[in-house]
Symmetry: C7
Subunit: 94 residues, 7 copies
Amino acid sequence: MKLVPLGDRVVIKQLIAEETTKSGIVLPGQTKEKPQQAEVVAVGPGGVVDGKEITMQVKAGDKVIYSKYAGTEVKIEEEEFIIVKQSDILAVIE
Amino acid sequence: MKLVPLGDRVVIKQLIAEETTKSGIVLPGQTKEKPQQAEVVAVGPGGVVDGKEITMQVKAGDKVIYSKYAGTEVKIEEEEFIIVKQSDILAVIE
Amino acid sequence: MKLVPLGDRVVIKQLIAEETTKSGIVLPGQTKEKPQQAEVVAVGPGGVVDGKEITMQVKAGDKVIYSKYAGTEVKIEEEEFIIVKQSDILAVIE
Amino acid sequence: MKLVPLGDRVVIKQLIAEETTKSGIVLPGQTKEKPQQAEVVAVGPGGVVDGKEITMQVKAGDKVIYSKYAGTEVKIEEEEFIIVKQSDILAVIE
Amino acid sequence: MKLVPLGDRVVIKQLIAEETTKSGIVLPGQTKEKPQQAEVVAVGPGGVVDGKEITMQVKAGDKVIYSKYAGTEVKIEEEEFIIVKQSDILAVIE
Amino acid sequence: MKLVPLGDRVVIKQLIAEETTKSGIVLPGQTKEKPQQAEVVAVGPGGVVDGKEITMQVKAGDKVIYSKYAGTEVKIEEEEFIIVKQSDILAVIE
Amino acid sequence: MKLVPLGDRVVIKQLIAEETTKSGIVLPGQTKEKPQQAEVVAVGPGGVVDGKEITMQVKAGDKVIYSKYAGTEVKIEEEEFIIVKQSDILAVIE
């Protein structure tokens, strides 16, 4: 089962911060969300959306900053995704 | 009796999740709605809507994610449908 | 006396559901409104409305679903009509 | 003294319903307003209004239905008029 | 000191009704404002305003009806003016 | 240090009214602001702003009336300025 | 790790005012934020954004005044940035 976004929508998944102790040990069980950071899972085809030509500028795998409160949360087979418009993606983290 | 949507409207029907017990037995009587998942029932012709050229990108039978709170609920011969604009459909589930 | 709508307006009249008893007898005195279902009474000429070219897609006699809360109710010679924009008509019932 | 509306404005005057008794006698003293029914008094020239070409479709003398709450009431020499945009006129009564 | 409006702005001055007694004596001291009636004092050059070509249709000296609540009141050398956009002028009084 | 406005922005500085006593003596210590009157300090280059071609029509040194509540107040080296869009400037005072 | 803004977005960093005592000694520990003053860190490519061609007019290193309440605050590796649209940048400080 796979989400195929329409138009200028992008499916993203929030990034989970690995908790690292001062001694450098990674504690994967103690995760917390990195707010507004997400990984792109799927990208719509772009094209004419609401009468405007949209070129998609992100691709699956990109780490991005997205706009707080934007988008629609969906749960597919116990996994949580957020579907946003590309214009709600503010920046790519390189 | 059949709903023929105008312009960029799409008639959808909410999906009902079959409840499956841990042993794998499907209990069709204990259904609950899958929020925001729906099946496309009928698709408008598209064309110029509100001064913008709209091409329809979903078709009857598609399983889709739609935007919460969008659309108008209608009841035709005891069946419930939702009529949304195509732009309220966020993604197709494949 | 007759209403001739301007631009993309459509004059509609709410449909009244005939109450049918289980034995099949129609009780016309016990009517209730079918919410959001209406019959088209008169259709404006379309053309350029608010700077956008509008082609009328419904015709007098069509049974339609219209958007809740849309339109203006008017009473002409004791008959009640609703004047809506065509974009408030969601679907035709065939 | 005469009102000459600008652009797509229309000067209208609310219609007063003559009260007729059951025996057919008209009682002109007992008038009440017909809500939303008005007679067109003067029509602006149309042309480019707010960047859009507007063609005027009503003329002085037309009886019209106008949108509730629309327009500005003005009082000129003890007479009351309403100035509306043509787009607030929903239909002509023929 | 003189106000030169920009773009599609118009400087207007509210009209004061002279109070006339029944015997025909004008009592200039007992003035009251004629609501929404004003005289045009200065007219902007029009041209492209907010991306739209605007042609000015009123001129200094015109008596006009303007939209209630529209415009900005300014006081220059103890005189009060209102600066409105031409689209807030509803009609010229001839 | 100098403010260079972008696009259709204009940097203005509120005018201070000199208090003059009846005998004609100017009391510079007793100043009060002239509401909505300002002097233009710097003018943006104009050009395409928000998809619309903007030509700047005010210049540094102009005394202007600006729209109440418009603009952003900034303090640079203890001096207070207001940055407004040119469309918030209603008129030039000559 | 580096933020690459999309479209007409700009990554900025609020300026910190160095506190200087009257004797001229800089007290870097006693910093306070200069409200609305920021340094540009990274600039999006511009291009067609929301159907409008945008040319970027600021560059990394520019000191700018930005609109209060605009933008989205993000924290990357303990550093705080604000991502704004270029239209939220009011002026460059030279």
